[in-house]
Amino acid sequence: MLSSAGARLMQGNEACAEGAIAAGLRFFAGYPITPSTEIAEELALLLPKVGGKFIQMEDEIASISAIIGASLAGAKSMTATSGPGFSLKQEGIGFASYTEVPCVIVNVQRVGPSTGVPTAPAQGDVMQARWGTHGDHPIVVLCPSSVAETFSLIIEAFNISERWRIPVVFLMDEVIAHMREKVVVPEASAIRIVERPRPQVAPDEYLPYAAGEDLVPAIADFGSGYRYHVTGLTHDETGFPTTKASEVDALARRLDAKMRRAAPHVTFVDEFLVNDAEVAVFAYGVTARAAAKAVRDARAQGLKAGLVKARTLWPFPEEHVRKVAERVRAIVVPEMNMGQLVLEVERSSAGRAEVVGLSRVDAEPITPDEILAKLREV
C-alpha cells in the first residue's frame, strides 16, 4: 500500500522507493543485488498502482539502458543497484550524462572491490560515483544519513535530475538502507516537484542541444511531435555527430559550465555546533550519525567539536569546507573506505586546517568512540 501522509515506520530502501514515487517516478528497471533489492521489490508492488511501470531486466546494463529510453519517452526513471552492478552501469551513466537525459541511479554501497561483503556496510564508491564512467562528465551525487532524509533527498534527486538534465547518483549505505526509522510522509501537495524544461518552440525550430542562459537545453519527449536525434557520439546543437574541434570543445565546456551553474542549487550541507568549534568532523551517510554522537560526547568532555554533514558529495562542497577550515584547528574525516573524500576535504582546506582521515574497512560501521578518540588526538 502507498503511504498516506503522516508518521510511518519505514526501512531506508522502502523510503527510497516511496520517496521516488512521491517525486513522480513512473519507470523503474533493475536487476536484484544485495543490499539494494528491497527498492526493486517495493517498486514492483507500488508502481503499477500509480500507473507506473516496473521491469526486472536481464542485467544491470539493460536496466540503465531501459531507464534512459523510458526517460526519453517522458517518464521519470530510476534504477537501483549495489557496487558490482554500479560498475556495470557506468557506460550507460556516461551516455545519460553526455546526452543529458534525466535519470536517477541508486547505489546502496557494499564492501568491495568485486563481490566483497554483500551484506555489510561500506562507503567505498564515492570516487566511482564521480569518476566511474569515461571522459569528463557532469554528475550529481547525493547521500542520505537517515531514513527520513532518504525520503526527502530522493525527491531532490529527481528534481535536480529533471531541472538540470544531469543523471543523479543516490549513494546510500547498507546501514541506512536496512535500518527502520520514523518518517513523516508529507501531504502530496506539500512536496515540491520539478519538471524538465520542455521546448517552447515549434518542432521545425527545435534545436535539441541549443541551451539557453541556464545552459540547459529543452528536452522533447519521443512521440510528442518533435522528431530529433540523440547520440552518444559528440554532437552539435542539432544533436547530430560532429568531430569539428570547436564543437567538440563547446559541448565539453557547456556541460562543465552547466554543472558549475547548478552547483549552488544542488549542494546540501548541514552544520551542527560548528560556529564556536575548535575541531570539526566532516562526515556523510551513516558515519555522520556516529559523528554527531562523537561531537556531543566531546562537548560533554569540554572539547569544542562540531560536525559538517554533507548530503551532496559531488559537486564537492568545497566553499563550505574552506570556510570551516578557516575557523577550526583540525578536521577529522571518518569514512568506511581507505580515504576517498578526505582527499577533497584536504584539497578544499588548502592548508588552513589540519585534515586527518579515519578509515574503517572491516565491514563494520565506524563507532562514535573511534571518532571521539580521533577528535581528542588532533
Binding site: 500500500m1 519507470f27 528497471a29 531486466m57 534512459i68 529510453g69 550507460g92 540523440v230 557520439l233
Partner: protein, 277 residues
Amino acid sequence: MATPVTHYLRTSKMPHIWCPGCGHGIVLGAVLRAIDSNGLDKDKVCVVSGIGCASRAPGYLDFNTLHTTHGRAIAFATGIKMAKPELKVIVLTGDGDAAAIGGNHLIHAARRNIGITTVCFNNSIYGMTSGQYSPMTPTGSLASTAPYGNIEEPFDLCDLVYAAGASYVARGTAYHALLLSKLIARAIATEGFSFVEAITQCPTYYGRRNKLRSAVDMLKWQKEHAVSVAAASKMSAEELAGKFRIGELGVRTRQEYCRRYAGLMETAQKEEAERDA
C-alpha cells in the same frame, strides 16, 4: 501509390558513411518501404540502434531516433516501449551488436515478447572496426582477428530468437530486396517481438579477404546460397548443406508484454481500490 523513401530520410545528413558496395542502403530502403506500407505516422515511430555500421542508420531517418551504446539498443528500446506502448519501436542493429555484445538483450526481449521490431543487418563481419570476425562469420572465413580462418561456428540467429519466444522471425537478403521489404513490413505489423535477419554484403572488409571482391560477387553469392522456405521444405539435409533459408521462418501468436503489463496494472489498481473501500 507508395511514398518515395526520401520522405522518411534526413537527406541533409547525406552522404552516408557506408562504403561503396555496402548492402546497408538496400536494407535501409527495405525498412523504409516497410514502414510506408504499414502507413505509420512519422511522429509515432522511434528507431533505436547500438554501435556499428548498421547502427548509424537512424541518423539518416526522419523519426524519433536514438543511437545508443554498443549492444544495448534493444534494452533502450524496451524502456521506450514500456513508457509509451503506443510508439512503434524499431531497432536497427548489426550482427556484432545484436548477436555478440547484445545477445543477452536479444533473447530476453524475445522471451518477454515485447512489441519491438528488430532488423539485424548481418554482414558477417565487424565493419566499423575494420574486419574482425563476428558471431555470424562463417567457419573457415578469414578476418583480421581470424588470420588462419575462423574456427568458431556462427549462430542460426533466426532459430535462436524463435526458440527464445519471438512472435515473428524471418530472414531475407539484400539481393532479394523486395522480399526483404515484405518480411520487414509483416514484422512491423506484428504485435509481439519480431525479428528479421537481413543478410547484406560487406565487400570492403569481408569480401576482399574471402574471394568475393566486389558487391556483385557478394550479391551473386546471396542469390546462389539462399533457398526459399517452400523450396527448402522439399530438399534433403545434404542438398541444404551450405545454404540458408529465406522467408518467414517462425510465426506464432503470444500476448505482447506491454499488454500483459497493462493487465497487471489493472489488477494492482483494483486491489488498491478494494483496500481503500
